[in-house]
């Protein structure tokens, strides 16, 4: 499946300044893993493979929880990666 992944503006420094990336995968987790393989500086998972809590993963405008990462995706789905924002 070909999925569009949108990265939060601050994270695009780790994705060669690309804000939208086409990536392949059958599930959300597979897409994110493939993304990290392409852009190793983008650290989404800890050494045990768990998604860091300070990211929010949005699939088609709905935030999903970490236990939903194995949700299948289909052509045309969009994933956004957002980052916890603490400043003010």
């Amino acid at each position: 499946m070909s999925i569009k992944v949108h990265s939060e503006p601050f994270l695009s420094r780790y994705t060669d300044n690309r804000k939208v990336i086409e990536i392949n995968g059958e599930t959300v987790r597979e897409c994110l893993n493939n993304l990290v393989r392409h852009f190793p500086r983008l650290e989404l998972f800890d050494k045990n493979g768990n998604l860091f809590d300070y990211y929010t993963i949005v699939v088609n405008s709905r935030i999903i929880f970490t236990n939903e990462l194995d949700t299948p995706v289909t052509d045309g789905d969009e994933i956004s990666i957002d980052l916890m924002i603490a400043g003010g």
């Binding site: 503006p9 804000k19 809590d53 300070y54 405008s61 916890m84 924002i85 603490a86 400043g87 003010g88």
Partner: protein, 323 residues
């Protein structure tokens, strides 16, 4: 609106916009809580303050109160110079109809989230960083909470801060404005509140909405308030975008600045203002507030700040307070 009460925690970029908006709108009582003093590098995005406030070294809560009282004299504006923590959050939000987030750190947001759910007071989260920002309205019993979105505090240094990423002025302007709209809706009983995260990239002009769901294992939604586990002893914290470290001790409520200044005089250069003492010794510049907090200027060294606090301040405060 005139009978309602708002507490704004944090009076920087976001808090300044929110306070300006709510005071001009005519919210009956606006309480402003902030721990910091006004500095030049605040002025690009913190609209409540001016160069005179910097020269006078005013605490932000004091300067904000002064400036806002000139805007709308019918509003009861109260500035409180304090660090919000889990020992004083109850008194800070008591009587408020809404809690507005003008903060620069996550720890206090987790504390606010728990207080909001515990005392059933809505709060409006806002955050701004670099060219981005986001906001969400948390209504106890009606919407998922902040912990549903972010279940735990990230480790120190895991996410970018104002220090590492900066903040462009219009980011908090936009987010603070969106937060203010939510406050007006909530305070007037309008049901058309925002139930999503609204994320904004001001640089690209993008607005996005994300649906939030209840997290089934969210402790806060089940009445378990884990923010009480956030460090309550002497704690240090790098202040966002300030090149400063704060040391606070919730065990100390208040101190006599006059007496403390006298006891510090033999040890270095001491200047006392109404709201704080500036103490310089061995090239370390510190500001000490009436609630016992210390800010070490021009440093990111938390260990040094804690050591200076222990060496020069803590024992003296306890001695003066008769502990």
């Amino acid at each position: 609106m005139g009978n309602s009460s708002a507490v704004i925690i944090g009076c920087g970029g976001l808090g300044g916009i929110i306070a300006t908006s709510l005071v001009r709108t005519g919210v009956g009582k606006v309480k402003l809580v902030d721990r910091d003093i006004v500095e030049y590098h605040n002025l690009h995005r913190q609209i409540l303050f001016n160069e005179e406030d910097v020269k006078n070294k005013l605490p932000k809560a004091v300067a904000a109160e002064r400036n806002l009282k000139k805007v709308n004299s019918s509003v009861e504006v109260e500035g409180i110079v304090a660090d919000v923590h889990n020992a004083n959050i109850e008194s800070m939000v008591a009587g408020a109809d809404i809690i507005m987030d003008g903060l620069d750190n996550l720890e206090t947001r987790f504390i606010i989230n728990d207080a909001s759910l515990k005392y059933k007071i809505p709060w409006v989260y806002g955050g701004a960083l670099a060219t981005s920002g986001m906001t969400a309205s948390i209504i106890p019993g009606e919407t998922p909470c902040f912990r549903c979105i972010y279940p735990s505090l990230p480790s120190h240094g895991a996410i970018p801060t104002c220090d590492t990423a900066g903040v462009i002025g219009p980011a908090p302007f936009i987010i603070g404005s969106l937060q203010s709209v939510e406050a007006i809706k909530i305070l007037t009983g309008n049901k058309d509140i925002n139930r999503d995260i609204i994320a904004v990239d001001v640089w690209r002009g993008n607005f996005s909405r994300f649906e939030i769901a209840y997290r089934p294992d969210c402790p806060a939604c089940q009445g378990e308030y884990k923010s009480s586990q956030i460090q309550t002893g002497v704690r240090t914290e790098i202040l966002c975008g300030q090149n400063s470290v704060q040391v606070s001790d919730p065990g100390i409520d208040s101190i006599s600045l006059i007496k403390l200044a006298e006891s510090l005089k033999p040890l270095g250069e001491v200047s006392r203002k109404r709201f704080a003492i500036r103490f310089i010794t061995d090239r370390h510049e510190m500001v000490i507030f009436p609630d016992g907090r210390l800010i070490l200027k021009n440093s990111f060294d938390e260990s040094l700040a804690a050591a200076l606090y222990a060496k020069y301040i803590k024992a003296r405060i306890e001695g003066l307070n008769g502990k």
